[in-house]
């Protein structure tokens, strides 16, 4: 296997999907420009033609609706939103239309579309260019959500998403674009709904999502030097998510830290933590910890950004909290502290 970057892996998946299946086309903003998609779509328009790689006017709602209609009419569209924030303008075709279609018509007809959106944080881009809104979509029945953290999954999950007969939201993160890793040359789908154990361990389970899965691996390396053995699970797929892999691991370690690149309240980390608390209650040695964004919009100034975005260090501190001797009283204190910041 060769080594590719995350962005190259996304591009390769597109190229192979477009070459294999005439029904696949890409529609959205910035497809002909390196500004919007980095190298993740580089020269696909030259290779496959501008009629299949369609750089659209600024019309998030209608282009996403077009993808729904094209999917219903037998195509396999990938609609592209280079910044997830702008995709908010396309909530109707996603939440009212694509997600409902199968259920509304008794499974007689589905919407085989992929919605690709990019999380584009940091770099002083501020509140409307930095949002990770994946948790919105966990709430909606009928739409799948995947978030790769490695080059291999960036390719494999895009293939699986296009092959799936249902609407799938594929969310990639610009902070991962230059990550490298070995990627199969063949078209090997990563199964949707299955997590990956990135590192085996026995003291604590760290469940990471997207960029935070990569940070969890770094955190585990730091913890190892302290003599703490962390098992790292990369969730990869948020809806459906792999409860079994998570619960089997937590049953083994008795401790869990959920690390999510999105906001804390009502977020993906809450869903995972609640499930662990319910299903693995008897196995837990400590309260489930969460590392997430504080409940504020993204700041712009670099100084504030540094305080805002959690990273491996926050995961390490959360793990240490799970290993602190536990009493009900200290738990109350800890939780009060945690409410104030990313991971107190």
């Amino acid at each position: 296997m060769r080594t590719l970057t995350y962005a190259q892996a996304i591009r390769e998946a597109h190229a192979q999907l477009l070459a294999r299946d005439k029904r696949v086309f890409v529609l959205g903003q910035g497809l002909w420009s390196p500004w919007y998609a980095g190298s993740s779509l580089e020269n696909l328009d030259r290779e496959f033609g501008k009629h299949r790689i369609i750089d659209s006017p600024v019309a998030e709602n209608a282009t996403t609706g077009m993808a729904v209609g094209a999917a219903l009419a037998g195509m396999r569209p990938i609609v592209f939103h280079p910044r997830m924030d702008f995709m908010v303008l396309a909530i109707d075709p996603l939440v009212n239309q694509a997600a409902n279609w199968s259920y509304l018509f008794g499974g007689q007809i589905g919407v085989p579309m992929v919605v690709r959106a990019v999380i584009n944080r940091g770099s002083e881009q501020g509140a409307q260019h930095s949002q990770a809104l994946h948790s919105f979509f966990l709430h909606v029945p009928g739409i799948k959500v995947v978030m790769p953290s490695t080059p291999a999954d960036a390719k494999g999950l895009l293939i699986a998403a296009v092959e799936d007969p249902n609407p799938v939201m594929y969310l990639d993160d610009r902070w991962l674009y230059s990550e490298t890793g070995s990627v199969a040359e063949e078209m090997e789908p990563t199964p949707i709904g299955r997590a990956a154990v990135r590192r085996a361990g026995s003291d604590v389970t760290i469940i990471g999502i997207s960029y935070m899965a990569q940070q969890a691996v770094l955190a585990a390396e730091t913890l190892e030097r302290e003599g703490i053995s962390a098992e790292v699970i990369d969730l990869r797929s948020l809806k459906p998510w792999d409860r079994e892999t998570v619960l089997v691991s937590v049953a083994k370690t008795g401790r869990a830290v959920v690390a999510d690149p999105g906001w804390r309240t009502g977020g993906a980390s809450a869903e995972v933590a609640a499930t662990i608390a319910r299903e693995a209650f008897a196995m837990l040695e400590a309260p489930v910890e969460r590392v997430a964004l504080p409940d504020t919009p993204a700041p712009t100034s670099r100084a504030e950004e540094m305080a805002y975005y959690p990273s491996a260090g926050d995961i390490v501190r959360a793990v240490r909290r799970t290993l602190t001797p536990f009493s009900l009283k200290s738990n109350v204190r800890l939780n009060r502290t945690a409410m104030g910041g990313a991971a107190a």
Binding site: K22, F25, L27, H51, R52, I54, S56, P57, A59, N61, A62, T63, T64, G65, M66, A67, V68, G69, A70, A71, L72, A73, G74, M75, R76, P77, D92, P93, N96, Q97, N100, W101, S102, Y103, L104, F105, G106, G107, Q108, I109, G110, P112, P141, G142, K144, V162, E163, D164, P165, N166
Partner: protein, 320 residues
Amino acid sequence: MTRDWLFERWKTMVRIRGAEEAVARMVETGEARCPCHLYIGQEAIAAGVCAALTREDTVWGGHRSHGHYLAKGGSLGGMFAEILGKESGCSSGRGGSMHLLAREEGILGTVPIVAGTVPLAVGAAMAYKLRGEPQVAVAFFGDGTLEEGHVHESLNLAAIYKLPIIFVCENNLYSSHMHWSERRVADNLHEAGLFHSVPGERVDGNDVTEVFAAAQRAVEKARANGGPTLLECRTFRWRGHVGASFDLDVGVERRGELNEWLQKDPIARLEQELGAGHELKFAAIEIDREIEEALESARRSADPRPSRVLEHVFVNGAAA
């Protein structure tokens, strides 16, 4: 138009009206519980436009789509069963009146979110163009829909990609309870596409021949890679926005208008051309019987199993 052609359109329109009147009765008795938006008064538009289409062409509708569904070939029994929430309904009893499906007839799903299917129709037209197929897509919508922003995105996208689509605005003058003059300054919906380079035409929506002629021109142009057209079909809905009443009881002052439009009944106008005779009388009896049988069969069908409630959130099976 030949007499035979007119007679066929008349049958389509009488069938739609008869079905809608049956639905109205079911709404009044409480037998139909889901929200029903009746098409009575607008029948010439669905009948005229669909006469210009092939079975493979798709039509996209909204909350008031019983007429589109029937004119395009959807089954009466499937629609009645759907409205009654039966498992044998055209949408498996999951959609009700506002969500109709007739895949084989080119209805891939109607939805009540205003303008919800307009971009979907544009996407279907994109699919036909990418595949080099001759089909067209028709987006049916009401006058209120042109007040939604993404309809303008859709018009521009259809124009820039020169897609085979016809935007059919059924201007019945009211968006729910609001007259057009309460919502817009100018009465100019046929011009709605001009800024986006989508040519528009205003037609008498209660004249099935005129509707057909305009639709046929637009369809021929679309099939010849000539791009989209917008048709504004002027009409009036006789009943209220939703339900069976004539809407005179909810503070909407439209009694005068209704009386005026009752005189322009699209079916009566066609009958003047066809001439009353035994042929129409017999055909009407036949249509009534068909409606009655479809209704009885829908009533006899089973309710869905309650345990089905968790099924079909996703379609099953791997994509080919």
